[in-house]
């Protein structure tokens, strides 16, 4: 299995997400996943496009800033991935820790035959609970790609992890971390392009419609 990890680092937020992503890198190396890292100055659009073309990874991982329709490269001057070049993610598993990108970019990747793990709103965290936010942000990768759990189970287990951590944080007197842990968990989605039951369901449903309705 091959993976490409893109992790910009240029401001206070990416300083933390860069560290979170180091665990993904370490897990892949330990598990024998052939991972190529595009960090800091290498986390830019041309390098990402080249890596996706030459390496043709099974998994694309991104940790950094996102908007509804893109994942920002180093310095946030240019998108590393956006609607225009996301066809390069067709057929790949995409795993992100970034704000908002599962809103428009995720569905576009999904339409092109990829899967998309990401967040439909802002991903937030507080600095006095960084290990908990790292655990929450990374756990889905472990469930899916290291333990080999199904996409559905990986998502369910990840959401349970966000809930467990938020309750633990309340117990530890850290209400603010708990609040944003819970918010992140609610914003997490896994857009799954390989759910045959859904695709079949739609097509079969269409074929079963009365002819008059289909013509309309």
């Amino acid at each position: 299995m091959k993976a490409v990890l893109c992790r910009p680092k240029f401001d206070s937020a990416t300083k933390y997400t860069f560290v979170f992503a180091a665990e993904i890198l370490q897990w892949c190396q330990q598990a024998g996943i052939d991972i190529t890292e595009l960090a800091e100055e290498d986390a830019v659009r041309p390098a990402v496009e080249t890596a996706l073309e030459k390496i043709n990874p099974d998994i694309f991982v991104f940790y950094g800033h996102g908007s509804e329709d893109c994942l920002w490269g180093q310095g946030a001057n240019e998108a590393a991935i956006d609607i225009k070049n996301c066809d390069r993610l067709a057929g790949k598993e995409v795993f992100t820790l970034a704000c908002l990108s599962a809103k428009d970019l995720g569905p576009e990747v999904w339409r092109k035959g990829g899967t998309y793990w990401g967040y439909v709103d802002v991903f937030s965290f507080v600095t006095d609970a960084l290990p908990s936010f790292q655990e929450a942000g990374n756990c889905g990768f472990h469930y899916r790609f290291l333990e080999g759990d199904s996409r559905e189970n990986a998502l369910t287990r990840a959401k349970e992890t966000f809930t467990r951590l938020s309750v633990e944080l309340v117990g530890a007197g850290n209400i603010f971390a708990a609040i944003f842990m819970r918010e992140n968990g609610e914003n997490l989605v896994y857009l799954d392009a390989h759910k045959p039951e859904e695709k079949e369901g739609c097509l079969l449903g269409l074929l079963k419609l009365p002819l008059r309705l289909r013509k309309n």
């Binding site: 206070s12 704000c99 908002l100 600095t127 309750v167 309340v170 209400i175 609040i179 918010e183």
Partner: protein, 83 residues
């Protein structure tokens, strides 16, 4: 939203601000990373008055967490709720 609810929200926000004030006094490096923004505890106190989205997130999950803890406590005491 009823007047009663508005008062309850006010009470909750006051309590949350008290926690933030304690944080501000005890941990000056505490930061809320909100997407591209980084806010100190004092910044968050001020934002809670004018940022409706932030206020809603905080109130929703504050109450949601209370419900979650009540649910877990009930299950611990009486077993899993199957209804």
């Amino acid at each position: 939203m009823s007047e009663k609810n508005l008062v309850s929200d006010k009470v909750l926000i006051t309590e949350i601000k008290k926690t933030l004030t304690k944080i501000a006094n005890n941990n000056s490096s505490w930061t809320l990373v909100l997407g591209r923004e980084t806010l100190s505890a004092t910044d968050v106190i001020q934002r809670l008055d004018k940022d409706k989205k932030l206020r809603k997130i905080v109130l929703t999950h504050y109450v949601g967490l209370a419900v979650e803890m009540e649910k877990q406590g009930r299950e611990k005491r009486f077993g899993e709720d199957n209804t």
